[in-house]
């Protein structure tokens, strides 16, 4: 269990982007689109949530994709094919509410494209027309393009530097689509908090229902601690058990972003220690 059967390096430069295919038959069997796992890499490690980006029930594997932005993801990235992830818990969170809405636009920004993938798959399987917008800083770090093309009726790409697709942000593409008169029944967005906030700002005036999958700080991921709490529609919700998906127009993104910055100093220190030695991996 928890053995890494495949390792793929999507982007080598810091912060690197890597993907593991992990043996976890029980999780693979039960996982549904939108759910996540919590993992811990070493005895002294912390618990972090990662969304499952793909799975193979027959092989009993799940895929997780991550960017090495902190001590834990860096430690994780040092694992090789054949290694085991010390602790892996899941599937956690509520699955995405899937039904036939009509046209569903799936927006993934940065490594947020990976968690959008199973959701796009599920909407496609439910008979929706799926249009995906994938955003990246630059062409080289765009991930999952091929997989998203397989599961979408149409894929649109934006890059911040214009090296591929539209020069601009995912919101520019979304705005253009809406303004062109395209009928959109649902938008799903996963990516950096600021991006999700902007996507929701774009869809709100048009009353296009928008799911945002939130990536807050978590500890246990089972509803026990409330570290992940956000305000949705004026009420406190736990992302781990009430989410991770919420009506994006009801989410207080500013509060969420402030909460995400809680441990910046500590994260920096841990990262520095990690860069100096082989933190965690014994």
């Amino acid at each position: 269990m928890n053995e890494i059967v495949e390792k793929k390096v999507w982007w080598q430069d810091a912060p690197a982007i890597k993907e593991f295919e992990v043996k976890a038959p029980w999780i693979a069997e039960k996982h549904q689109a939108g759910q996540f796992v919590v993992l811990k890499v070493s005895e002294n490690g912390e618990r972090i949530p990662l969304t499952v980006s793909d799975k193979d029930v027959k092989k009993g594997t799940i895929n997780i994709l991550f960017q090495e932005v902190g001590a834990t993801t860096m430690t994780l990235g040092r694992l090789s094919k054949g290694d085991k992830i010390l602790d892996l818990t899941g599937p956690l969170g509520k699955p995405t509410h899937i039904e036939k809405f009509g046209t569903v636009v799936c927006i993934g920004g940065g490594i947020g494209v990976a968690p959008v993938h199973p959701i796009a798959q599920a909407f496609k399987a439910a008979g929706n027309k799926v249009i995906s917008i994938l955003g990246a800083r630059t062409k080289g770090i765009l991930i999952y393009e091929e997989r998203m093309r397989k599961t979408s009726d149409e894929v649109r790409i934006t890059t911040d530097d214009g090296s591929y697709g539209r020069h601009g942000f995912v919101t520019d593409e979304l705005k253009a689509m809406i303004e062109s008169g395209m009928k959109i029944d649902l938008v799903v967005t996963i990516g950096p908090a600021i991006m999700m906030k902007m996507v929701c700002k774009v869809t709100e005036p048009y009353k296009i229902h928008t799911y945002a999958s939130l990536n807050t700080i978590m500890l246990d991921g089972t509803g026990m601690c409330g570290a992940c709490r956000v305000t949705v529609g004026g009420k406190t919700k736990f992302v781990c058990v009430d989410g991770p998906e919420f009506d994006g127009h009801q989410v207080n993104f500013d509060e969420m972003m402030a909460r995400l910055r809680q441990y910046l100093d500590e994260e920096k220190l841990a990262r520095e220690i990690c860069q100096k030695n082989t933190c965690g991996v014994r």
Binding site: G45, T72, M224, C225, R229, V241, E266, A270
Partner: protein, 475 residues
């Protein structure tokens, strides 16, 4: 009867109740080592002699797991500490833990006959002494095991209820698997109760014992997600599921500003520190902030654990804010006293109104209102009533909310046919049988009673084991 009449009035012992050696309050307020050091051999000898070996001991009635208290104390008095350990272990699998965290003053020691004229025999301290002695000097002995029955029991949750239940069922020949959601077994014993009150090495020792006698632990398994209760029975072939998943959902106060940075549930604060060892950051990866001015809202044992943890993390001012008075605080007296000696400040008859924050989203203070005690409420305690226009602000950089927990709905939501009460706790036909509305499913501990104590949960676990065993015999 005739014999009883002849029994003389209990003789009042000459030896006073032996004091528990402790770390110096100032020193311990800055470290995570255990506060109390445990009896020495001499102290335990003296204390054991204080027991008058009542013919009709009342202390046993006060013990939720009915330890034969006079019998074990007699062994201590005779110098046979390992023998004493054997007596305790007949009824209590986790004596090193219970000796530390049981509220003995409300249980065995409250009924102790010696206590009527003098201070009661320090039963808890003796229990701890015996358990700790055994850990060092005893050898692992396989308990008497019944032949294998071929019946399988799944236990959900590895806290005190689950562990106690597992300990009995495995001895009676059943196959027992404990499913634990977290990466470490022990439940509240590892995530909730701090190191300075219950060293984790002790919990580890008790867990090891269960592993050695054949209990299987499956960590990182959130039942309700990776498997439902029905699947455990239908797919994995468990004949019985015992739900002992605790009351893990933290309550917040529902006041403005509660989601500001620096407001924590006690569960989060304690889980970071205890389970994740964040007090050792950056040696451990999970961070925790070392706040200077911290208030804990609430008056229970969890509140005391949180405030004393904040102190050890370096707080200059650590407050307890409680809406009633000292007398109504539900925490153990000993814990309140320990907290006071260490420098915790108590702001009584005060309720939070609003959390005040700065432009960066961090807590800067708490607006409170003064309370006075009115008529008694349902719990029999006098109801606190706000005093008009008595608002004041406490300057703080962190607020820890310790006002109780609710049932975690994960198992209930995914188990059709399981009856719950209006608070979401699982309904059982009575607290002895632990039978739920669903055949083959039993429940015990906090998930039935709401947040209670370690020993009550253990009592429920053992009681459930008895009725589970009976049920398995009918299959």
């Amino acid at each position: 009867m005739a014999e009883e009449k002849k029994e003389k009035k209990p003789k009042i012992p000459k030896i006073p109740r032996q004091p528990m050696p402790e770390q110096d309050p100032h020193e311990r307020a800055r470290n995570f080592n255990e506060v109390t050091c445990g009896f020495t051999g001499e102290l335990s000898d003296n204390e054991a002699l204080r027991c008058i070996q009542c013919k009709k001991p009342l202390c046993i009635d006060g013990c939720p797991v009915s330890i034969n208290i006079p019998a074990f104390i007699k062994k201590v008095a005779e110098g046979d500490i390992l023998g004493a350990a054997k007596v305790i272990k007949e009824s209590n699998l986790l004596p090193a833990i219970c000796g530390r965290v049981c509220p003995q003053e409300d249980q065995c020691e409250m009924l102790c006959v010696v206590g009527k004229k003098d201070k009661p025999v320090a039963i808890g301290r003796l229990e701890r002494y015996v358990a700790d002695y055994e850990a060092v000097h005893g050898k692992f002995e396989m308990p008497e095991m019944s032949p294998k029955t071929g019946k399988k029991v799944a236990i959900v949750g590895s806290g005190p209820a689950g562990l106690a239940c597992a300990g009995d069922l495995i001895k009676w020949g059943h196959t027992v698997t404990i499913f634990e959601a977290l990466h470490k077994a022990g439940g509240v014993l590892v995530y909730g109760i701090p190191e300075f009150r219950l060293p984790k090495a002790i919990v580890e020792r008790e867990l090891d014992y269960l592993k050695k006698i054949g209990v299987e632990f499956r960590l990182d398994h959130v039942i309700g997600r990776i498997r439902t209760v029905d699947e455990l029975m239908q797919k994995d072939g468990y004949n019985v599921v015992f739900l002992a998943n605790g009351a893990g959902l933290p309550q917040f106060m529902n006041i403005p500003g509660e989601n500001l940075n620096g407001v924590y549930s006690a569960n989060e604060f304690l889980t970071r520190s205890n389970l994740m060892k964040a007090y050792k950051f950056p040696e451990y990866d999970t961070p925790i902030k070392r706040f200077k001015n911290v208030a804990v809202i609430g008056g229970g044992n969890t509140a005391m654990d949180a405030v004393r943890t904040a102190l050890r993390l370096g707080a200059d001012n650590a407050y307890i804010i409680y809406r009633r008075s000292m007398a109504e605080m539900p925490a153990r007296k000993e814990e309140i006293e320990h907290a006071g000696h260490e420098g915790v400040k108590f702001i009584m008859l005060t309720a939070p109104v609003r959390v005040i924050g700065n432009e960066k989203g961090w807590v800067t203070g708490l607006e409170c209102i003064k309370m006075q005690l009115g008529e008694p409420d349902d719990s029999g305690r006098r109801r606190p009533v706000p005093i008009k226009e008595s608002e004041f602000v406490v300057n703080l950089d962190a607020i820890i909310v310790a006002i109780g927990t609710n049932a975690n709905p994960l198992v209930a939501q995914t188990t059709p046919g399981l009856d719950l009460n209006k608070w979401g706790y699982i309904v059982v036909d009575d607290e002895k049988t632990c039978r739920t509305s669903k055949k083959g499913i039993f429940a015990g501990g906090d998930i039935v009673t709401g947040a209670a104590t370690v020993i009550l949960a253990m009592g429920a676990g053992r009681s459930a084991a008895k009725y589970i065993d009976e049920y398995l015999k009918t299959l």
